[in-house]
């Protein structure tokens, strides 16, 4: 909200106090965004664990469960990625210890979201074959992994 709008509602002193609080809380302000973006990757990992376990023969193939997990991957990959929701400017690994997001994300945000769209494409292909048999799972999970790596290659830094 623009500060002049605040001033109209509140006394100037109260508005100034609010703005001061705002800048002090700036670092923590990213916590919600970080939870949002890290949560979606953790969820992807959970679903892929189910699919990958079947693909690698570590769990019995269950077509209904495979389909459910693949549908879930598609659902997460369809969440639009934006600077408003998950990736606010300045929430990179140079500024924060709690993220591995490279500053290059914000230099090439369009490329970044294109790579998220590639994940969506790979997820759709996985969804199409997940229920059809164990043999199709391996290559489809592999293709999804390729989409993960394509983005991580440029935009995810080393462990902190």
């Amino acid at each position: 909200m623009p500060t002049h709008a605040l001033s109209r509602i509140l006394s100037p002193a109260a508005a100034a106090a609010l703005i001061a609080c705002g800048s002090a809380a700036l670092a923590q302000d990213f916590d919600g965004h970080l939870s949002a973006r890290q949560g979606q990757f953790a969820s992807l990992g959970l679903s892929l664990g189910v699919l990958g376990g079947m693909a690698r023969g570590r769990a019995d193939y269950d077509p209904a469960l495979a389909q459910l997990a693949a549908d879930y991957v598609v659902a997460i990959a369809s969440i639009p990625q934006s600077t408003a929701l998950q990736w606010p400017e300045g929430s990179d690994n140079m500024a924060l210890d709690t993220t591995r997001a490279e500053p290059a994300i914000w230099d090439n945000f369009e490329d970044f979201t294109n790579k998220w769209a590639m994940l969506g494409d790979a997820a759709a292909e996985l969804q199409a074959v997940a229920g059809t048999g164990a043999d199709a799972l391996g290559p489809a999970v592999g293709a999804l992994g390729q989409a993960c790596r394509a983005c991580h290659q440029s935009y995810r830094g080393p462990e902190n």
Binding site: G52, N93, M94, R100, G145, R149, Q153, G157, P158, E159
Partner: protein
């Protein structure tokens, strides 16, 4: 009297310094070692992927592509920031002027396995010739043949950005005397598979370049082999991959090299994503061999 002593000491110092430079001067491999070796480009492609040449020598723009081309343009230009300065990967495409198209096989082998340029200068060890010194003559000949099949680029190689004293190449002879020809870290390979994995990890794959910490002179600390290290750029860490720091099963390691997925289905990133691209193109037996070697390490 004391003046004469100082002059004598200075002269002795200069003579010693000159002797060290002569003793550690760049030495190419004898051309005769490669006589009669006909490289096989098709076999060289697998050597090329295992050695990860493209990961460092493709253009920076090409790194942003989702998938490396199977016939990449090795025009160079990627920047590697280190504690010693910034190294810029050169053009090693087959262009005869801008690249290495004019090199003979012995010149190529001397560069790759000894870090010696055709002009007789030392290369900086950002080029992992210490690891490549393990390369077989057949593999280097096959690799040479494969390089000739790649597209040429006229892009000019750019100089490294190094401060004094690291910008003096002659000093690299001393570095080589300390770090080159140090033999296998895993001295006994108990099976064929472990021997193959050792060749891939300690040799072609040059895994230790990032996964092993370095001493003050930038040499690998072989006492902490593959124990994890600060990232070369200084930001973040490269994880341990020796058994004491990585408890994955052998199949998990092989699957990671094929897909980039960890056992928790996290996914490889950064330079490792390029390594996975390379290793995904190798036969499954090679990925299993890397895993077999890592699991065989006794530390």
């Amino acid at each position: 009297m004391w003046r004469r002593a100082v002059v004598a000491i200075l002269l002795i110092g200069l003579a010693l310094g000159a002797a060290v430079l002569v003793m550690t001067r760049p030495r190419a491999l004898p051309a005769a070692q490669f006589a009669g070796l006909a490289g096989d480009a098709a076999r060289g492609e697998a050597v090329f992927h295992a050695a990860g040449c493209a990961s460092c020598h493709i253009a920076p723009e090409a790194v942003e592509q989702a998938e490396m081309s199977a016939a990449p343009v090795l025009s160079g230009g990627q920047r590697f920031e280190t504690a010693f300065g910034t190294f810029l990967a050169p053009n090693i495409s087959p262009d005869p002027e801008a690249g290495i198209g004019g090199w003979t096989l012995p010149q190529f082998a001397s560069a790759v396995m000894r870090g010696v340029s055709p002009e007789g200068a030392h290369y900086y060890p950002a080029f992992p010739y210490v690891a490549y010194s393990h390369m077989t003559r057949e593999d280097v000949a096959d690799l040479y043949a494969f390089f000739a099949t790649l597209p040429a680029s006229e892009a000019e190689s750019r100089p490294h950005e190094l401060g004094f004293p690291f910008n003096i190449r002659a000093t690299l002879g001393v570095w080589k005397a300390l770090n080159l020809d140090t033999g296998w870290v895993l001295e006994e390979a108990e099976t064929e598979q472990i021997a193959r994995g050792r060749y891939l990890v300690e040799g072609l794959g040059h895994c230790a370049e990032c996964h092993t910490p370095r001493n003050a002179l930038g040499g690998l600390d072989r006492a902490r082999w593959l124990a994890g290290a600060p990232a070369p750029s200084g930001e973040g860490r490269i994880p341990a991959i020796a058994p004491s720091g990585l408890d994955w099963a052998a199949e998990d390691i092989a699957y990671y090299l094929e897909t980039g997925f960890t056992p928790e289905f996290d996914s490889a990133g950064g330079h490792m994503a390029l390594v996975v691209q390379n290793y995904a193109r190798l036969p499954a037996e090679d990925r299993a061999a890397v895993a077999g070697y890592l699991k065989a390490l006794p530390f």
